[in-house]
Subunit: 110 residues, 2 copies
């Protein structure tokens, strides 16, 4: 039941896991607006360049982004733009949580 799908699920998990970090989510969103070089992303995130570079490597190895070296800069872009739709659902989970907390708060208040 699980064993037969395990390899496939592991492949999926690798991709999803690569998105499960605030900085990497930021990068994905930013690349949704167009390609960016490491230097610019680093400035926006405010972490060490090496850290951002490693985040980009994670996204690249997961197949989420592509890199393109031009001169002494490396530009990254999304490989599959639909990644962005992805977030609608995540938001609805967060929305459901907000509603529940509100409902709970009201119940406590009564």
């Amino acid at each position: 039941m699980y064993q037969t799908q395990k390899a496939h699920l592991a492949a999926r998990a690798r991709i999803i896991k690569a998105m499960g970090h605030p900085s990497r989510l930021f990068i994905i969103e930013e690349l949704g607006r167009g390609e960016r070089c490491v230097f610019d992303l680093t400035a926006m995130i405010g972490a060490d360049v090496s850290t951002v570079s490693k985040h980009l490597t994670v996204l690249k190895q997961a197949g989420i982004v592509l890199d393109d070296k031009r001169g002494n800069q490396v530009f990254y872009r999304l490989r599959v733009p639909c990644i962005l739709n992805f977030f609608g659902c995540v938001e609805s989970v967060m929305e459901a949580q907000r509603k529940e907390h509100l409902a709970l708060a009201e119940r406590v208040a009564r």
Copy 2:
């Protein structure tokens, strides 16, 4: 640029991270077919019950599943079924990778 969104991105990341594990992906898909108790999920996955229980806790804390105790069993179900659509995009990343590997293989063959 990033700092202002950081909390929101971290909240998103928590949810996505919770999905980034093969067993948890399996659970999500299985719950897409209907509610399941811990015991049944454990049988399907083939890990220790305590391990599966912990995976379910992760999903629950992320707001992805809800639990419902009936008798001495606990039934889990998806809180937001759209989670399943989610995977279409992940598949397209995998599809893009497959195509690229094929193209690469052809290039090498020539």
